[in-house]
Symmetry: C2
Subunit: 356 residues, 2 copies
DNA sequence: GGGAATATCGTGCACGTGCACGACAAATTT
DNA sequence: AAATTTGTCGTGCACGTGCACGATATTCCC
């Protein structure tokens, strides 16, 4: 509190407690080899005088390095996870500033066993902290339990599982995103039934899409509960299959004009609309993938709801590094980023002039 | 880049350049007393080897302290600026971690001459950095010019003046806020003319409200350009006057059902509606003041658009401290916080469980 | 050319902490 | 009782940089 505290050094504490600075150090770091009497005395002095170690001297003297493990899917070109990689790389540029090493543990996005294998490899590396997206609910529960047991802090990105012991979350409120998407989608004269899309293999497990879906439905229930909502599942890299599904859907439900894709691949739907020459649909999607932006420009996707993923991830890694090395708590547990709305008109100006 | 860089010290550079570490230090800090030959050689080595000083050693050795000056209005109870104060206090708790002192320079919110006087006092204190809200456009231009001349970095909070040389901005996109407010206000069956409110003395100068107003009008122009928009000005602490204005307004325009207050004091309007027994109006406002929340609960204000001001300010001070002491650039120039929408239903859950 | 002024540079201590090492006494074993 | 182990503790160097101080080389002036 007082500025005098700033000047209080370990040597002062030692003098006041009648011991040497070595002993104080042992107490501060719970390193044992201290008699109960000395320990109590030192703690009393620390408490009373409000001693706090100088983090700079500490960092300088300590040759310990902290390993930050990032658990994320490997990214193909243009995919969402490539944006995440960029954020990590940006954080890596600061590695030198902290006594921190950043290592990425990749797994196959749609392969839960790969996820678990990677979890094990990650645990074996005995990291000091973990940054991860909570992909599969069960497997995530598994690894977070292990991490908690080992007292390894972990930070969520992309989405979060509430009521879990994560140190912090950096990203959007996926529920709010879904809610916002519904508001945008239905903000027009022609209401009517809604077609929603997801990705087949991910639909039940992926937290991001399910939270968006929850938020979407919440808005619908609150504002237009009688609305009919259809659900279809696509495949990330099977255009023929997707064409089949979408052909059938629009044949069966030609009256559906409002469309939303909860996954990051709204371009799959937009590109179908373009190829099939379907017009007059109102489509909303998420995330700033290059192909999504293209769809936006061409007018087949009306709105993209997103934040700057790269920045979210950067902040996540940064916060963990500062927590580990400087013992600095994140500003908040849930650090929600802005819910930005991109249209064909403003997309070009987004994420420009926004950086140093 | 390479981890080897991490190990490169000033002594290594000295050896490679064939000089002593004192000389390298003089070059690094532009402290003169170095021959052009040595200087060139040292810079070459630094460049080639990618030497970057160890910030921890630097902080430890330097007994220099940085003064951060905060230029904000003094706050009465319950006002917006009290939230700003809380953010500064929160940052102050970290003072010891950086070699930083935080000082607050108060001025009278509605008195431009007081603003300029305080600017002068602030400049005399020769701060290392400034956190400020760009209140009066001209006076802000004056002080930022002075700061730029003295090479003192400044961070904007509350709102920003674009194309200015501020180091960073932490807060909402006021334009987006206004835009969002229009979308919420008109998201209902009964459209029609709109009544907008501001604060009398601030209207022309205050950047926050004018940006919100701009955003609001942008939405109206894009989506319902034929809409009639009225504008009235209230006084922050003159309820009799406000009652007179509002009485007259609703008498003259009984058909106006949609209302928005661009200042933080939407409760002025809400409390009038309550007192006058006017119902059936749809009112939208900004900022999480206690009295605004009250209005929300009672149903006289429908939506509050806000972010967690306290956190925005905390981040602003923190970023400046890290820039000064660690030479760490802010993550972005414009750090927009989330645009949160509060209703009588979710207000109680906002800003809870959201912190460590 | 001798002294003084100036330009340039090297040396060494201080910053506060982490930690290895060894000192010492008490407790235990042989 | 001597030898060994165990439990406590102090000492001192290292971390990389900032900066004061003084040393040396160079230039200038008369």
């Amino acid at each position: 509190m007082d500025k005098v505290n700033k000047k209080l050094t370990i040597k002062d504490v030692a003098r006041l407690a009648g011991v040497s600075k070595g002993t104080v150090d042992r107490v501060v770091h719970n390193r044992g080899e201290v008699s109960e009497a000395s320990r109590a005395k030192v703690l009393e002095v620390i408490e009373q005088m409000g001693y706090r170690p100088n983090i700079y001297a500490s960092m300088l003297a300590s040759r310990r390095r902290y390993l930050i493990a990032c658990l994320i899917p490997s990214a193909q070109g243009g995919e969402f996870w490539e944006l995440v990689h960029k954020g990590i790389e940006r954080a890596r540029a600061n590695e030198g500033n902290y006594n921190v090493d950043i290592e990425i543990f990749h797994y196959e996005q749609f392969d839960e066993s790969s996820f678990r294998d990677t979890c094990r490899r990650l645990l074996e590396s005995a990291p000091a902290g973990v940054v991860m997206a909570p992909m599969y609910r069960d497997s995530t529960a598994y690894i977070t339990t292990e991490l908690t047991q080992r007292e390894i802090p972990y930070v969520f990105i992309d989405s979060r599982i509430e009521n879990m012991g994560y140190l912090a979350y950096f990203g959007m409120s996926m529920f709010q995103c879904g809610y916002q998407s519904a508001a945008l989608l239905t903000d027009c004269e022609r209401r009517g039934p809604v077609g929603t899309f997801g990705i087949e293999r991910a639909s039940r497990r992926n937290n991001t899409t399910s939270e968006r879906s929850r938020g979407f439905m919440a808005y619908i229930d609150e504002h237009m509960p009688e609305t009919k909502v259809y659900e279809e599942l696509l495949r990330p890299s099977d255009p023929a299959y997707n064409k089949m599904v979408l052909d059938a859907f629009f044949k069966a439900h030609p009256e559906v004009n409002l469309l939303v894709m909860f996954n990051s691949r709204v371009h799959l739907v937009a590109e179908y609309l373009e190829a099939a020459g379907v017009t007059g649909k109102r489509l909303v999607g998420f995330d700033m993938l290059p192909r999504n932006i293209d769809s936006l420009r061409k007018g087949f996707c009306k709105y993209l709801i997103t934040s700057i993923t790269e920045m979210d991830v950067y902040h996540a890694v940064q916060a963990l590094a500062e927590f580990l090395t400087l013992h600095k708590n994140p500003a908040a547990k849930d650090n929600f980023s802005s819910i930005d709305i991109l249209t064909r008109y403003n997309a070009d100006y987004y994420f420009k002039n926004n950086h140093i």
